[in-house]
């Protein structure tokens, strides 16, 4: 099942294996897009959801390295951590991903940086989990945060 709509990010939820694939193109060469994925000072500027502040505990993006970060906001904090399984500069990052609220759950993620010419990059991020239930919970989490954002907007309207 694919959703493209009128935006450039493309999502695929495979019906046969529990994975989500995201594809997106960038107006920058692979080396630069890769750098925005490994430099903690740059990651905090884009990775976290808009309404949270991202705090990095450590982010050692090399083969055998690990990371841990928090999304902090509204009196709550959500921790995430994982290991970098394989990192090849400007080519690929293979890592594990755990939301600390579900400590036994783990996703295997692969980010591939493809050079598509003209100084542009196609990023393909595949996230594989161990059950369809877990995959669907991830998709549902997008729904929940969308609902939360909706209520926040409603609060703003009501506060006028």
């Amino acid at each position: 099942m694919t959703s493209t709509a009128k935006h450039s990010t493309e999502i695929t939820a495979d019906p046969k294996v529990p994975l989500i694939r995201i594809t997106r193109e960038f107006d920058a060469p692979p080396a630069k897009v890769f750098r925005a994925h490994i430099d903690p000072d740059l990651i905090v500027q884009w990775l976290g959801p808009g309404r949270y502040t991202m705090q990095i505990d450590h982010y050692d993006c090399r083969t055998g390295g690990s990371y841990r970060y928090l999304h902090v906001g509204g009196g709550s904090e959500f921790g995430f951590h994982g290991s970098f399984h394989e990192v090849r500069p400007s080519e690929v990052i293979v890592q594990t991903f755990t939301y600390e609220g579900v400590p036994d759950g783990v996703a295997l993620e692969r980010a591939v940086f493809d050079d598509i010419g003209d100084g542009r990059t196609r990023l393909t991020v595949t996230s594989l989990v161990d059950s369809f239930e877990a995959r669907d919970a991830i998709l549902a989490s997008g729904m929940e945060s969308g609902v939360v954002e909706g209520y926040e907007r409603l609060d703003e309207v009501l506060a006028r």
Binding site: T9, A28, V33, R35, W46, S141
Partner: protein
């Protein structure tokens, strides 16, 4: 739609025969016998597949005397699409922030990182 319902929908569609049945029902309602026609399987086997689709809310059976045609519930697909679209929109927002980071980054690693190994 609850998460377990969505799981049932995705697992119901994980089977090639059931996806084929859904594709045929997208064209028109059909009876179990009509659906069983093209497959090298018994009507009972096709009924089992229909039961899985029915439990997932993807198809319904109407009471029309003896015929009881099978009907595709298109709105279930719309709900799934809305979940995926929401997730996609969040990813797109994230990557628009990355677009901005890339546009403001210097071209060379040394100037931002300062901690090359």
């Amino acid at each position: 739609m609850a998460a377990d319902t969505l799981s049932m929908v995705f697992s119901a569609l994980a089977d090639a025969t059931r996806r084929d049945i859904v594709a045929r029902l997208a064209v028109a309602d059909a009876t179990v016998n009509e659906l069983a026609g093209p497959y090298a399987m018994t009507v009972q086997a096709v009924s089992k597949h229909l039961r899985v689709l029915q439990d997932a809310g993807l198809v319904s059976r109407t009471r029309q005397a003896q015929r009881r045609p099978v009907h595709l519930e298109a709105e279930v697909f719309d709900l799934m699409t809305s979940w995926i679209e929401r997730y996609r929109r969040l990813a797109e927002e994230r990557y628009q922030r990355l677009d901005h980071v890339l546009a403001t980054m210097p071209d060379h690693a040394e100037s931002t990182q300062g901690k090359e190994q």
